[in-house]
Symmetry: C2
Subunit: 420 residues, 2 copies
């Protein structure tokens, strides 16, 4: 009985590995490595979108972008602003903040940059107006708190910030929103303000970097990997002999690749935010891409949500478009699981899931987004998804055996340069 079963369940048969779909198409690792080296070398050349700035496009006067500022610059910018306000008050004019608008109408997707940017519309926020007195007070208070963070040189979370003056802020959405305003007013990134988001990402593989002064070797982080630091400004000294960065949507796939030490077979850095990308992971990914000049390949679920996640890494979220230059990683390639993979790799029917009405709507909405339309390959894949009304998780590959992902699917994808 055992033998018969073994034949039927080929994925678990230690001797029957040739039966794994496409296993026979795999070339030797050295050939795949050669392919990756060529790909990696190409990526070292500045790509069209990554190197361009608003300046290059003549958009710097009509669009607004923030930059990383040193703590002392943030401090002096705040001091200058407050001095200006004091003068305005002393001259009998009261005071007002000139706050960049972050509404949808003020957002713009710039194809040449392949990301969303903020246009230059601003709104006046006077203190002496019943409708804005609260917001201008909150703005002043946040400026004061950030000023103190600069002096103390410590990092706090948005939650900490809220709790320093609950009476004034009332609820956290108010302090959070004004914090984004303050970034825009000062023209600096939120990380420059030393206000950080809780981290949830992990990284493992061929990367060495310093976290707050400690040198971390990510090949020596076992299976758990290294938690991505919440404060990017204390991350530095990145070194790597990797040929690419593998961006993974989900934890389970990450664990498989970490345990199999996939990065030793194909030198790479594996990173995941365990679902929805958080700011810390987005900043970390961009920093790796920029400093190490490595191509980024994304492994996400074959559903609209997977592509949405890819888009947040790639071209940013509308909410933080003012900082898209620092938060986005240009030129991420969609490796898999792509809708066309479902048939190509013979994913069994029962491992495919029917898309819900909401899924289909999200998919159709995505087809209208500029960042998708820009890439004909993506349009084709997404159209196929919406047409077949089928989705699949990365884990669907487990139907061919637990290690099919790391032993066949990914190597074959790399060998065939099968990314878009």
């Amino acid at each position: 009985m055992a033998d018969k079963r073994k034949r039927r369940r080929s994925e678990l048969n230690p001797d029957g590995e040739a039966q794994l779909p496409f296993k026979n198409s795999l070339k030797s690792d050295s050939i795949i490595l050669q392919i990756l080296k060529e790909f990696s070398d190409c990526s070292t050349a500045p790509s069209s979108s990554s190197s361009k700035t608003l300046d290059d496009l003549g958009l710097s006067s009509s669009c607004r972008e923030v930059t990383d500022l040193s703590l002392s610059s943030v401090q002096s910018t705040i001091e200058d602003l407050i001095l200006k306000i004091a003068r305005s008050i002393l001259s009998g004019n009261g005071f007002a903040f000139d706050v960049p608008s972050r509404s949808a109408a003020n957002q713009l997707y710039v194809p040449e940059l392949d990301r969303i940017v903020l246009k230059d519309k601003t709104a006046i926020r006077p203190y002496a107006n019943i409708s804005t007195v609260r917001k201008s007070t909150i703005t002043t208070r946040i400026l004061q708190l950030v000023h103190q963070l600069c002096i103390k040189n410590i990092h706090v979370t948005k939650r900490d910030l809220f709790y320093t003056d609950v009476k004034l802020f009332q609820d956290q959405t108010q302090s959070d929103s004004v914090l984004d305003d303050v970034s825009c007013i000062l023209g600096c990134t939120r990380s420059s303000l030393n206000v950080i988001a809780a981290e949830k990402g992990v990284v493992v593989g061929r990367l060495i970097f310093s976290d707050n002064g400690d040198m971390i070797d990510c090949t020596k982080m076992g299976m758990g990997g290294k938690a991505i630091p919440p404060n990017i400004d204390r991350v530095g000294d990145m070194q790597s002999d990797a040929l690419f960065i593998l961006l993974v949507e989900k934890d389970a796939a990450y664990i498989r690749l970490a345990e199999d030490r996939f990065y030793n077979r194909f030198p790479c850095i594996i990173v995941t935010a365990k679902g929805q990308p958080d700011v810390a992971t987005r900043l970390f990914l961009r920093k790796m891409k920029m400093e190490l000049k490595l191509p980024v390949l994304a492994l996400v679920d074959s559903d609209p949500y997977g592509l949405k996640i890819l888009s947040v890494y790639g071209c940013g979220s509308k909410n933080m478009s003012y900082d898209s230059a620092n938060l986005t990683t240009p030129d991420i390639k969609w490796l898999g699981i792509r809708p066309s993979d479902l048939d190509k790799y013979n994913i069994p029917e029962q491992c495919r899931l029917p898309m819900t009405e909401q899924d289909i709507k999200t998919g159709k909405d995505l087809l209208e987004e500029d960042f998708v339309k820009k890439n004909p390959g993506w349009v084709e894949e997404l159209s196929l998804m919406v047409k077949t009304k089928q989705k699949a998780e990365i884990q669907a590959l487990s139907s061919f055996g637990f290690q099919y992902l790391s032993e066949v699917y990914l190597p074959l994808k790399l060998q065939q340069k099968d990314w878009l």
Copy 2:
């Protein structure tokens, strides 16, 4: 204006730190360290509940517990079971599994052990019965898959397991539930089956351990810390010069303590599961406590949910009571934020939150739980919470300054041995 404001906002005044509530009560660090050393030494002595077993209490025949088994033992146990089944079939009796019941009626809180255990009721799961044929088929399939994991010596997630046979399992709750059954049938922990849960915990501080062969020094993990490995069986060689383990409910408090390197001022290991405890973090905490013989102090929100989290670490969840011996950490002390701290530390009214109806119900339910009733101090605190109908997050301490937690609140708690 700046001066006036500074006086009012004492928390942010670098010179006015004496104004911080209770800052004056703090003794020198060397005195606090002496207190901690004495406490730590006491914890080295076997505590009453941690050392007892079901055997000691004469309960081993009426209660059921699983143990960690080596991969080869799991493999041979499965082979023995299947051989027995084959013989039963050949002798014309068909086959059935004898499955321990995991229903609420079969759960028991044992005060002497201070944790929930599973009683010995079992149910027959015959193949030749229309109502159990599916479940017995799934059980056989899971046994086969686990057997292959033993041979391959790899770890997979519950999600991976589900996807190996979606047609049979239909939805993941079915394969998950039978996986727990299989643990009980084989008498081994779920980790022994090499089926792991996605990790989300992080650890930082005075701990060195090996993760899958790599030595990790948690004092050199920057601010991000080390991600807790999902597979406890590959964690070992724990060494530490810490005096206690600080178990933190939330990410934000963890970040504060990690950035301030609190563990260097008061030698400790800081660990968090970022909310609801996951299996990996629970196993890791227990392993630390057992191997390093360190006291565990818990810092959770002052709400019923915080106490609930403490209870899951301490005495287990009902769902996995069959493995409570391995998953629970005995003798966790409730350090804070305790309901009595709200008045004691003058937490401002606006930083306290009114409890919802649901909160109050949960609080009252907890008062009926054995593990709470056992500890008169906890009953008193929880009764106070329910009476005042007020809750507060750890971050509420930020109202006295961002570093009040690490610079005043925690040192004072330690100095006063203010835990329950």
